[in-house]
């Protein structure tokens, strides 16, 4: 439908159109949803969509739905949802506003519906204007005989998005098995510390700082130092409990010292 047709159609609305609107009843299939139907019904009011009576429109729509019911025409659910909403809106529009009620006023809701109709109508009009434009392959044309473009070779490395996603998935999947290897890189466990201290305890004859017993390479990185210190502290506590060593600390935050328990 072109622009022109549209305008003509708007102008030519008459009693016959209203009769046609009545005939809508037998042709629900012709509508693309309740909003489309509302827009068609609104044409019978013959006013600018901005001045449309939403109350009247709601009544028309409800009338339509009732007739459809009487004729045992099955209406899709969204038509019935719209009917329920319009019935609610109609009752709100007819009753004096309830000052205690929260939320939008009936007028706001009606205005929004009018906005939706106006917007749909506007989209229809611009769609018609768009389709009425000169179109490629119909009104104007491209070069019929394009010229071969000679090709010289150049190697380019490429990858598709799917390759990228696969690669990333591969890495991330690998990650999910890695904690047991990778994440322990910086962790010194108590078991390791126990094993180690058991081997070393024979050499701890006199009081010495626990920190001097840290394994090589575990004192440079702060995370590793903390982990190994904690593990060794826990290990010496365990050993003390077993009566293998003695522990002492001069005061809070002073170095912790250990020595082999005499007689071991």
């Amino acid at each position: 439908m072109s622009d022109r047709d549209w305008i003509d159609e708007q102008k030519d609305q008459s009693v016959s159109d209203r009769l046609a609107a009545e005939a809508l009843i037998v042709d629900v299939d012709g509508f693309e949803g309740p909003l489309d139907l509302l827009l068609s019904l609104s044409r019978s009011q013959k006013v600018d969509l901005r001045r449309i009576s939403v109350l009247q429109l709601a009544e028309q729509y409800l009338g339509f739905v009732n007739k459809a019911k009487a004729l045992r025409i099955e209406l899709a659910a969204d038509y019935l949802v719209m009917a329920a909403w319009l019935a609610y809106l109609k009752s709100r529009l007819l009753l004096p506003p309830d000052p205690t009620e929260d939320g939008p006023s009936a007028e706001d809701l009606a205005a929004h519906l009018a906005f939706q109709l106006e917007r749909l109508q506007a989209m229809r009009e611009v769609a018609a204007r768009l389709m009425a434009r000169d179109q490629r392959g119909r009104d104007f044309f491209v070069r019929g005989q394009t010229e071969e473009v000679a090709r010289s070779r150049k190697v380019v490395y490429s990858a598709a998005l799917i390759d990228l996603m696969r690669a990333y998935a591969r890495i991330r999947t690998k990650d999910e098995f890695r904690p047991f290897v990778m994440d322990r890189h910086d962790v010194f466990t108590m078991e390791q510390a126990l094993d180690r201290m058991r081997g070393l305890i024979g050499y701890v004859g006199d009081w010495s700082d626990l920190e001097s017993w840290m394994p090589e390479g575990w004192d440079a990185h702060p995370m590793r130092r903390r982990s190994s210190l904690a593990a060794h502290f826990a290990a010496v506590l365990e050993m003390a409990k077993r009566g293998q060593i003695q522990i002492r600390q001069g005061e809070t935050f002073a170095p912790i010292q250990i020595r082999r328990k005499e007689g071991e």
């Binding site: 693309e32 949803g33 939320g103 506007a122 989209m123 611009v126 392959g137 104007f140 044309f141 491209v142």
Partner: protein, 210 residues
């Protein structure tokens, strides 16, 4: 070294550059970007300037130099379309739903499927979107930064080319629609404002207002 090279390969005179652009545009069916022209022309050329001259030269002729987004093409003058019956391509008839969906995408872009449905008041069938994608009149735009990160749709250069538009800003009636507030995203009163609103506004600004 590079200075010597420079002087050896001085840019050709602008008239010559104009010929080059003419030859390249004539040889191609699809629009050619300025960047592509620059790649194909000798070093130091200014295809944009050459294009301006060429465009003027073809004013009122049987073919015209037209702009399509960032690219340029030669197309026959629309008033001569009646001579081309032989060239007319049978166009696939678009359904009313497809035409409306296309218009909504063009005027509201970037727009999500939910928004298209809200404007039309009816569900958009998968086939409609597929058809428009297949015709290469629409494509996926950025994801909306709202919950669910829905994809958006925008129109393509080939859409612009088909309808003879220089850019999406030149859509018929766009200004009037915007002035009338009909392109605003206006939620149902009382409904929670969707966090997408901000985003949408800025998305459109980017597209149409700079």
């Amino acid at each position: 070294m590079s200075e010597t090279e420079q002087s050896l390969f001085d840019a050709p005179p602008i008239a010559e550059q104009e010929r080059m652009v003419e030859a390249i545009l004539f040889a191609a069916a699809e629009p050619v970007t300025v960047a592509e022209l620059e790649r194909r022309m000798p070093h130091g050329c200014d295809p944009a300037e050459a294009l301006a001259y060429l465009r003027r030269r073809y004013e009122g002729r049987g073919v015209r130099i037209v702009r399509v987004g960032d690219a340029w093409a030669i197309r026959t003058a629309p008033d001569l379309g009646y001579l081309m019956q032989k060239e007319v391509i049978e166009q696939r008839k678009l359904s009313r739903a497809a035409i409306e969906t296309l218009a909504i995408i063009a005027y509201h872009q970037p727009v999500t499927r939910a928004e298209i449905e809200e404007i039309r008041g009816v569900a958009v069938s998968r086939g409609t979107i597929d058809q428009l994608l297949e015709m290469e009149w629409i494509r996926f735009g950025r994801r909306r930064m709202t919950p669910g990160r829905p994809v958006t749709f925008v129109v393509t250069e080939s859409f612009l080319d088909h309808f003879g538009l220089e850019s999406a800003r030149d859509l018929p009636g766009l200004k009037d629609l915007r002035a009338a507030g009909l392109l605003d995203s206006r939620p149902l009163p009382g409904a929670l404002a969707t966090p997408g609103d901000e985003d949408e506004a800025s998305g459109q600004t980017e597209l149409f207002e700079d």
